[in-house]
């Protein structure tokens, strides 16, 4: 069992943070990599990008939004409980180097994944400009942490309840118009990554996106995580999870993410019914 040593709720309980005891993984993990978790015997294997690593204490942190049955089940795990299986670190680490100015754009829980990468770019000596956004103030996560590792920091909410009203893409556009940017990193919902990539393409700024397709093994043996990049099929779990945003077929990714939408909706409803009754 992989014990949860610390658990916190964010964004009004819709986002959960788990610090998990996994010394082997913590010793190895690098920003950009992910783990696969399975809560119990009958559970699904769910990939989550690692949002913090403490090699000394032997822990890793994951942050996830509660969206379906499996994450509802994860949510029921308390401090001291654990996951039956945690596998990792998987995927290629982010290639971090000193480039100059790096813009880090995060949306929703994508900010959790963006945070260690932002910190790594900052530590590598880059000027880091961060833009994070959420639908409203309550859904915003890791603001302070992101701020602490950024030279310039912007927040926006779709409804204007906090920071600037509007989308991260608007802020991004203004930055690209006035500054020279060497790299953009965009992590968040698929439509957001798609729009960010479209904008940076106009400005000819290389853009990394981190993709989160449905996975099983995470080792390149099933091909379930395949994504189309530059017209070629790639396996996100071993060739990614980061890819060149200008090459990714985001529409195919969105559609593949919905492969089990109907099953998921039913399972989620059934789980909540049983759980609420308890």
């Amino acid at each position: 069992m992989f014990k949860i040593v610390k658990r916190a709720e964010m964004a009004g309980g819709t986002v959960i943070e788990n610090k998990i005891e996994a010394p082997r993984i913590a010793a190895k993990a690098k920003p950009g990599q992910f783990v696969i978790l399975k809560a119990d015997e009958t559970g699904e294997r769910i990939p989550l990008t690692i949002s913090d690593i403490d090699p000394e204490k032997g822990t890793i942190t994951v942050i996830y939004m509660v969206v379906g049955k499996s994450t509802e089940l994860f949510k029921t795990l308390k401090e001291g409980d654990g996951y039956q299986d945690v596998i990792g670190p998987l995927g290629k680490p982010t290639h971090v180097e000193k480039l100059g100015t790096v813009v880090c754009v995060g949306g929703g829980t994508g900010v959790a994944v963006l945070y260690p990468i932002t910190r790594a770019f900052k530590e590598a000596g880059n000027k880091v400009v961060s833009i994070i956004g959420a639908r409203n103030k309550d859904l915003l996560i890791l603001e302070d942490k992101m701020k602490a590792v950024s030279d310039e920091f912007h927040v926006c909410t779709d409804d204007g309840s906090y920071g600037r009203k509007g989308f991260v893409t608007e802020v991004l556009k203004e930055i690209l118009q006035k500054d020279t940017v060497d790299l953009a990193v965009a992590i968040g919902p698929v439509p957001m990554m798609k729009f960010v990539s479209a904008i940076t393409k106009d400005f000819n700024v290389k853009t990394l996106v981190s993709l989160n397709p449905i996975m099983i093994d995470g080792t390149g043996m099933c091909g379930g995580c395949r994504v189309s990049v530059g017209g070629k099929t790639q396996f996100a779990c071993v060739d990614g999870p980061e890819f060149d945003g200008h090459q990714v077929d985001f529409d195919n990714l969105s559609s593949r993410l919905r492969a089990y939408a109907e099953d998921e909706r039913k399972a989620h409803e059934a789980f909540c019914r049983v759980h609420d009754a308890k």
Binding site: K28, G218, G220, G224, R226, R258, A259, K266
Partner: protein, 470 residues
Amino acid sequence: MTQEKTKTEKIPRQPMPEQPPEVRRRNFDEVPLGYDAETAAKEAQRCLQCKKPACVTGCPVEVDIPGFIKHVADGDFKTAIRLIWEKNALPAVCGRVCPQEIQCEGLCIVGKKDSPIAIGNLERFVADTERLQGTGDLPAKAPATGKRVAVVGSGPSGLTVAGDLLLKGHSVTLMEAFHKPGGVLIYGIPEFRLPKDIVASEVATLEKLGLEIKCNTVVGRTVSLDELFEEGFDAVYIGVGAGLPVFLNIPGENLNGIYSANEYLTRANLMKGYLYPKYDTPLVRGKNVAVIGAGNVAMDSARTAMRLGAENVRIVYRRSRTEMPARAAEIHHAEEEGIEMYLLTAPIEFIGDDSGHVTAMKCLKMELGEPDASGRRRPVPIEGSEFTLDCDLAVIAVGAGANPLLTQSNPEISLNKWGYITADPETGKTTKKGVWAGGDIVTGSATVILAMGAGRKAADSIHDYLKLGW
């Protein structure tokens, strides 16, 4: 003696009782039901107890076949299983999945005029009897040597190496990427051909012998090969299988409802998707299913889809029946269950609906032309033969490749041009000191028993190395 012989020659091969096709095509219970003691003894009496048994030469691990059959004929099942164990650690598995018709039974002398002795059925019988009613007495272990061996991959090859080395007194740690040990036996071969509690019980036996199993350990990611040596392992065996899916590379292949056989079978078997929603992992249940390919993996996929309620399941294969690589028995089982064969047919495109789910597959009819490099007649498209097949689930089962995850970070291990590890066929030694390899990662997709045979040879070689050096 002479009198007994004339009597035994009259016994026909004892048929294996099976679930009838119309019942089993909708359930996941095992298809063959197994012999009872009386039938087994009767079948065993058919064996001529050859002085130079041809059957043994057909067995990759050289089980003493007439020896164990004699014990079955005498009703001494306990001694029979222990004789098999001397050569084969997984008889309940092999009795079920080995291609006996081209191995032991294919060479059995009785088979020249009559049906061969049902060696596989007898092996299965004695293994099942031991599991269900046996004493559980474990084979004797040599005194501890203090040497530590890491085995990477828990398929039949890794399990064999582990079992052999434990008996020789070494301490063995098995590392498996998945959350359950067993390799293809757990994630690939379906429940109706190989019940998973049988695999679990074979693994449990090894644990009782002292095997330490570390699941969720992806060697090459969680820990590197070199770190294993740093952690104090004296030798490493790589048995990671041929875990790379092969796709067709035709338009529309990334639509939903199209799986590699690896994904489909892993969802169904390892994740128990066939028990969804009791288990959480969903899998697409098609009405019209196309399985592309005609090997055992294709048959397993097709029969799984049928059990999950499909109306039509079609095997789509670009060559003809004679070239189908699956075991004849599996093709027969599939056809009995209502699976149709679309032979000389090649898919060229998948078509989807607005939501991105596959709805149909465009195909071409083929004819056989001149032989190709493999010696098989090359399929050539027939002009103007294009047609469309409805399909809401497609499973691509056209083979597997070498997964580079582990090997790419270890340049000292040399690979062949397809990415499989080059290992000495006699010892399993790789080009890196202290590292052995065997099974599908060396041979490419093969069989359970060949993977086990490679494991046995490597275990002997590792044992010599631990005593004498490289």
